[in-house]
Amino acid sequence: MQASSGMLTKFESKSSRAKGIAFHPKRPWILVSLHSSTIQLWDYRMGTLIDRFEEHDGPVRGVDFHKTQPLFVSGGDDYKIKVWSYQTRRCLFTLNGHLDYVRTVFFHHELPWIVSASDDQTIRIWNWQNRSLLCTMTGHNHYAMCAQFHPKEDLVVSASLDQSVRVWDISGLRKKHSAPTSMSFEDQVARANANQTDMFGNTDAVVKFVLEGHDRGVNWVAFHPTMPLIVSAGDDRLIKLWRMSETKAWEVDTCRGHFQNASGCLFHPHQDLILSAGEDKTIRVWDLNKRTAVHTFKRENDRFWVIAAHPEINLFAAGHDNGVMVFKLERERPASAVYQNTLFYITKDKCVKSYDFQKNVESPTLLSLKKLGSPWVPPRTVSYNPAERSVLVTSPADGGTYELVNLPRDGSGAIEPAESKRGQGNSAIFVARNRFAVLNTSNQTVDIKDLTNNTTRSFKPPVGTSDIYFGGTGNLLIITPTAVHLYDIQQKKTTAELAVNGVKYVVWSNDGLYAALLSKHNVTIVTKTLEQVSTLHETIRIKSATWDDAGVLLYSTLNHVKYTLLNGDNGIVRTLDQTVYLVRVKGRNVYCLDRAAKPRILQIDPTEYRFKLALVKRNYEEMLHIIQNSSLVGQSIISYLQKKGYPEIALQFVQDPATRFELAIECGNLDVAVEVAKELDRPKLWTRLSTEALAHGNHSVVEMCYQKLKHFDKLSFLYLTTGDNSKLSRMAKIAEHRGDFTSRFQNALYLGEVEDRIQMFKEIDLYPLAYMTAKAHGLEEEVQSILEATGLTEDQLNLPTFGEPLTPPKPVVPTYQANWPTKATSQSFFEKALLSQVEGLSLEDDAAAANGLGEAEEEVTAKRDTLGEAEEDEDAAGWDMGEDIVAEVEEGFVNVESADAGGAGSSEADLWARNSPLAVDHVAGGSFETAMQLLNRQVGAVNFAPLKPRFLEVYQASKTYLPASAGLPPLVNYVRRTVEETDLRKVLPVIPRDLEYLASNDLQRGYDSMKANRLEDGLRIFKGILHAVLINAVGSDSEVAEAKKLIASASEYTVAMSIELARRALGSTETVNQNPQLLKRSLELSAYFTIPKIEVPHRQLALLNAMNLAMRSKNYNSALSFANRMLANGGASRLLENARRTKAQCERNPNDAVEIEFDQFAEFDICAASHTPIYSGTAYEECAFDGSKYHTKYKGTVCVVCEVCEVGKHGSGLKLFV
């Protein structure tokens, strides 16, 4: 067996010797009791020490968590058992009684009991609720090393250094301490009789079995969780397995391997495995059924003292000389691969299954891989090759192996692979559809192999390569512990390198443009050329990731699903209650595999990241849609928007006025700011608004703010600067009113109102200033009056010299009338989007409504037309279509035996003509003469000129030009319609515009031109159809019938259209009406137009046309017949209404004014050449190809419908199918 590989250590602590371990049943916690008297509580997921409990004196050997209560119990060398609350972080009470070291303590799974084993040779059961000793079990005559409750039954098992294992029946104890009602008299009697008392008269716990077999003391013993099995570990270095029945117990087998004392052992909670730990520094894993060693994990220096299993998840812990390790036996990540809408994954029992994302169904088992690797080692990766429908599975077993197997077409149970190719390798992935790469880490090589498992090339990857991943076509991503290399396989060199530590997984985006490199704590997003786009760090371990279609990476940590955008913005999508591995995101569903390898669907709300993505991409419609349709508004998104510089968008979400104001200021949306400021009306807001508005030049808002704030001075100045003199003078008035002289002075100054200023100075007795002012402005009268008032004369005053009097500037532009032109961007894109979106919506509605009324009828008829065709199309679909061929692999080729020596061979084009009796294949082969011969024989074709475009079309489609060696002309290859055929006697050329194409394209175009009254076009199209069918091939007999139908239909339309065109060629309406000859002919032709068997809606058009013409010429009888036929046909109500009206009108006078050759009751066809009736019973000639009919005199002419064949020449019939 291999040693020491495969252990997955999840956590390690450093401490003194660890003697006892307990897992918390729910939380990621582990209790460790140490030889140094401390009890540690660790979070093994985060790797942090949560708490320490130090009340024991001396080593603590046993600990256990309570299953449901926030309690744990410990027992130590101080003889004490302590019960603790980890919530209050203190010891609740101590149970005293043991007379020596306490070795183990365990809670009962449902009763409030604790079982303890002690060196005083007793096992005791305690009630922790009333803190009493219930029972002391004696019998062992040496230290009792371990005692455990049975997980379901009323049993205790104990191990002792007296070399025995004892099983105790404690049902008596339970009965004694449960409610007395449950015990009837009979029970009491039965119990009294059944339970023989032990030598001390104790009936509560009796020895049921004594298991002897160990040659030395037994250190540990444990029950199996479900089966009647016991495992024990002893100083005789043996692990013994015991089985018990109702009445007896016996030794089953021994696991040999430990070469020192075995200190602990347990059953794997979910698998048929036994784990044991020993002082030989090993942990060993044994197969429960075969008792053979499965794994051995060796530690260098530390002896193991104890081992424990997590009750729920696949985790174990072992205590050793220097601490504790938490580990897993195997990886739980199910190997999986996604291709388009299918997930391929490997279940726990090693079966390949697939899961369809669209239908949400699991397939049955496709393949069983039981034989791959060892039974206890799950496969590590799977790589899927859609072209070959094969999988490449790697397993770490035997130093790394890979296996290439083909999946069966449909899974029908566990099929062993029919043939598989395998080899040694640590990683194996498909790199092309016919190549895969295998990494061998031990000798550091990468081999590129073909599907037959032969190495086609091999190279040395960069030093220390640990893994390889697909790197885009022709490339590998090579992972080393410190870097990722993009390696070009063809050139054998690294084309790019990026230093990223410890990458473990690579996840490609769906479009192949980006890849996410996942390491334990980091996600790095790179482009396909390995340029780093962004990186992020997670404290919690990252487990998996997948891309959504829009380029958002969703990744899972141990407890969250998170997202990250390409720009590194990330967030939480949802929490997880268990670890899952994401495989795909679609809409609101995240598909993942859980640890049991079951596909699961998680519901998520993608709104947040979609919104952010839309924001980054400035996709405002999408954002608008999200805003309107989801409840996204939250503080986080607002602050996000603000932080990211989109305050104008954040503004759309916010209701809170204060925040709205802030955002509005930030994005310069003054309207909103004003609105909010009005609402709140706080001076502070007005101040800020005024500043912002001033910066914008929006002075009307500034004015309002100043008004609100009563900043008169500022207001005045504002009016001054904007040149608003009227308001300025009003300000002056207000100032006067308020008695604010400074302000009044200022305003007067601004206004240049000298008198006012003088008046004011006088009012406040500042005569000198008044005088000066008056004097300076030359107001002599005023000067005099002041002098008078003060009683002074001019001589008494000593005046300085005056300069020019102040004159306030005159406004040049009436700025106050309008704001400064502000930046256009002040209206956010988003608002615009919002507006235009709303308009757009309403418009659409209108249009839809209008449509509904006006064009409904037309649409109905059109739909009816196409309905039949559509059905046909579906039937015909699939023929002559190329498919992905995965035919049988055939060695060797069809070898046209011929002499090896030179001489040119015959080209494939020649073969086509040889292989087929169809004209079209001869045309494609370039053998035009033989093609013409064939057509002449088959349908009497004589006039080939119209077929020339079709001949050349078919011929042009037959060859491709492959550029090969430089300097030489391209290699010609021959395009086949028999794509999968390799037999050269059966290959046939591709046919452009096959039957299906004609029916769904040309025919529809023909119909359209009929509807649109473009008859010349229609005629051309239908003749084109005839020519295309003539040179064509089909895939089956039923299609031959369809082709015949198409020919007939095209022929009828051709005749119909040419009749109507002939009528129109008679001349304008006036000329026709004036000439009775022409009028008669015109009426006849219009009547004949209704005869060919064209589609009903089109016939209605012809009938309408004929009816109207007849009406106009007072041919009421004919008109009546047309009206009747229209009514019989049914269809669009407008037409019918018209017909009904005509009918009513005609019935009053059912006579024809112009006699025409048209007997509405007779059966007849129309001669295609002369456009006259061929009554049934008369002789006629036909075109052998299109079936158009002619009067006998036209025999030998070229058919006017197909323009190719000779009328009346009967050939062998057109051949379209080999």
Binding site: D900, F928, L952, A966
Partner: protein
């Protein structure tokens, strides 16, 4: 050691050449090559320049050196002359070289090319068959066989080369050429090879894109082929082979191809598609005259 082998110095420039990445060949840094590989590298670069339409410059460059001592350069001058339309002169040079230096691999390959281009397939094959393990020669032989419609011989040639050259680019290419003739699942295999070349940024070229498209056309995957051709034309709008194949594709898809015919006419009026079509045009007219109706209406 074979300089073209996977570990050789010339592997990359050689691959570039055969992947149709001529510009990369010209830009290839040859300064670090060992002296014995300098000449082959130079020949490759000269050939690439001829392929890029710089035949005149190449001719001028080698004219002086193409003396007795350098049959390789003489062969290059013949190739350039051939490219410039001086076929007779080129053939003459090659025939001389075949006598004097017929064992030189460059002479074989270039000579084979020139002779085949001049329609002298037998002579070309005779010269090429003297090769000693040259994959270039094998590829040429395969192409000549295919042009002669001797698929059987081409298959044999590839199978033989596959035995000693395994996964080399040229063998893969030659096998794909043959595969496109043989059809069936060989189409798919050829497609894989071309797709791998065309889609990897390091090896992608117009030539490989067109090859991929051709394979897809043969597989009946019209839309995919169209995408590849559009991609090729975006890279090099005047690439005659891309236009020709797009033309064929349009015809197969039932679309109008007149515009493309015109642009092909502009780019390369001598393209086989056009010469062939003109020939068939005349053939049709000639054949059609044999028939006429008994009575003319």
């Amino acid at each position: 050691m074979d300089p073209y082998s996977a570990e050789g110095e010339l592997i990359n420039i050689h691959n570039h050449f055969h992947q149709g990445q001529y510009q990369e060949v010209v830009d290839f840094d040859v300064s670090s090559l060992s002296p014995e590989n300098a000449l082959p590298a130079r020949v490759l670069q000269l050939r690439a320049r001829v392929a890029l339409g710089q035949a005149e410059d190449v001719l001028a460059e080698v004219q002086g050196e193409a003396g007795e001592g350098a049959p390789e350069l003489a062969a290059v001058s013949a190739l350039a002359a051939q490219a410039l339309g001086k076929a007779d002169e080129a053939v003459e040079t090659i025939e001389g070289l075949a006598q004097s230096a017929g064992d030189n691999p460059t002479v074989q390959v270039l000579g084979g090319t020139v002779l085949q281009a001049a329609g002298k397939s037998e002579e070309a094959l005779a010269l090429l068959e003297r090769h000693q393990g040259s994959l270039d020669a094998v590829a040429l032989i395969v192409q000549i066989y295919l042009q002669k419609n001797r698929n059987d011989l081409a298959v044999k040639e590839v199978a033989a080369a596959r035995r000693w050259a395994q996964d080399s680019l040229l063998v893969n290419l030659a096998e794909s050429w043959v595969g496109l003739r043989l059809g069936g699942e060989k189409y798919q295999q050829a497609f894989y090879v071309f797709e791998e070349l065309a889609q990897a940024p390091a090896t992608s070229s117009v030539q490989s894109l067109v090859s991929q498209a051709v394979a897809e056309l043969h597989l009946g995957r019209i839309e995919e082929a169209q995408a590849a051709l559009d991609q090729a034309l975006k890279k090099e709008p005047g690439y005659a082979e891309a236009i020709a194949n797009l033309l064929v594709l349009n015809v197969i898809a039932g679309k109008n191809a007149e515009e493309l015919t015109n642009s092909l006419q502009k780019v390369n009026p001598e393209h086989p598609f056009l010469t062939d079509l003109a020939e068939k045009n005349d053939l049709f007219d000639k054949a059609a005259t044999k028939y006429k109706a008994k009575v003319t209406a």
